[in-house]
């Protein structure tokens, strides 16, 4: 059946909608779908070749001066053309939906304050941890990474207009001024508004001001306790 691979993409898209992170870009499937579209296009050109030459011969041998395809004359070819055309449109729709779901997820991540450089570093770290010594493969395709860069720049420019509020900050109102946090990743010493804080992995800090550490919690370096 036509558009089988495309269906796989859409099932992937449906799954991605629910996941918290973005799985790797299905480059092979996308390539297979685009190949199918090209093959369908070639078939359509082959079917229409006898009609478009403007020659004096039609497919059943009678002499026709006019060029162009009249569906009433040859409904069988019309049917084949329709099927190919619909399959191409279907493949296109599936591709667009898959990419749209992924870009929506990327935008969501930009708005929730995930740093683009951090994302790539995290994926590199995870591939090294799993023992894979080959080149770091990000979950994003090259175009998606470019998209994310440009979108974050756009977002930063937009946020820059209002310096006193952080548009990508947390939407939950704080309950206490001081909170307890646990450190998830080693980042050494961090300068905050009220002094510096040393962060070593798996240590626990008590009574840190929420306004200082909120950014670090959002980026994933600290975890809020209680």
């Amino acid at each position: 059946m036509y558009a089988e691979q495309a269906n796989k993409l859409v099932l992937d898209a449906k799954r991605i909608e629910k996941l918290p992170h973005l799985p790797p870009y299905a480059a092979t499937t996308v390539r297979a779908v685009t190949k199918e579209v090209r093959d369908l296009d070639r078939e359509v050109s082959n079917l229409l070749a006898p009609y478009n030459t403007g020659s004096t011969q039609s497919s059943d041998g009678t002499h026709i001066k006019s060029s162009g395809f009249n569906p009433a004359d040859d409904p069988a070819t019309a049917c084949a053309l329709l099927v190919n055309h619909l399959s191409m449109r279907r493949n296109k729709r599936c591709l667009l939906a898959y990419h749209r779901v992924r870009t929506d997820k990327l935008e969501e991540m930009c708005w929730s304050g995930v740093d683009v450089a951090d994302l790539q570093a995290a994926s590199r770290r995870s591939t090294l941890r799993s023992g894979n010594q080959s080149a770091a493969t990000s979950s994003l395709s090259a175009e998606e990474e470019q998209y994310m860069h440009q979108y974050s720049d756009l977002l930063a420019a937009y946020k820059g207009q209002w310096t006193d509020i952080d548009l990508t900050g947390s939407l939950e109102p704080p309950r206490d001024i001081f909170i307890d946090v646990r450190v998830l990743q080693d980042v050494g010493e961090v300068q905050t508004e009220y002094g510096s804080i040393t962060l070593t992995k798996n240590s626990q800090l008590n009574n840190v001001r929420q306004s200082d550490v909120e950014r670090l919690i959002q980026q994933g370096y600290l975890q809020k306790l209680g």
Binding site: K14, C79, A97
Partner: protein
């Protein structure tokens, strides 16, 4: 716009319906349409085609508005008389997921093409009865986990019903958690 990009709408359209060609199409005999077999597509060939293809074939009339369409569309077996009778008898015992993963979506699409009021009424009734059962299961999670026979009902839900269940379940959960959180602080 929402429906074009929406994966649910796309997957609903991918469900199959039996289509009977009303003319011979030799050009498609070797295509994946025909499972790549060489059997020619003659006027009597019936194939299970996905809705996005079948609908357009059933609607197109290449020889002008007075002639016959390229293919005729039949009701898929998921919405056939047997299932309809089972639904009128007892809506909650039918395993909709076995019939079609997006059962209600399929019903919507078929109703767009065929004017079948009776089927519409049956589907509406089914949805109401099953929604009641889903709400009950979502609110009382303890009995749902312990009850052995309720597992059959849960596995027979189609995708729309599953989303409904998840929404109801998450809603109750969130409210409970909020109550606990505010009573603490």
């Amino acid at each position: 716009m929402a429906s074009y990009y929406c994966p649910t709408a796309i997957l609903t359209d991918a469900q199959k319906a039996p289509t009977t060609f009303s003319l011979a199409v030799p050009a498609l005999s070797h295509s994946p349409l025909n499972n790549n077999s060489g059997t020619p597509i003659t006027p009597a060939t019936t194939l299970d085609l996905p809705l996005w293809l079948a609908e357009m074939l059933a609607v197109s009339r290449p020889s002008g508005p007075a002639s016959a369409p390229l293919a005729t569309l039949d009701m898929p077996s998921a919405l056939g008389p047997k299932v309809m009778n089972a639904l009128t008898a007892d809506a909650t015992s039918v395993e909709l997921r076995q019939q079609a993963q997006w059962f209600y979506g399929l019903g919507e699409r078929m109703l767009e093409l065929f004017e079948d009021e009776e089927m519409g009424a049956v589907l509406l009734n089914t949805f109401k009865k099953r929604a009641l059962e889903i709400a009950d299961k979502a609110q009382n999670t303890r009995t749902a986990q312990q009850g052995g026979d309720s597992g059959d009902f849960m596995s027979g839900l189609d995708e729309t019903e599953r989303q409904l269940f998840r929404a109801a379940h998450d809603g109750t959960h969130t409210v409970k958690r909020w109550f606990e959180a505010t009573s603490r602080g």
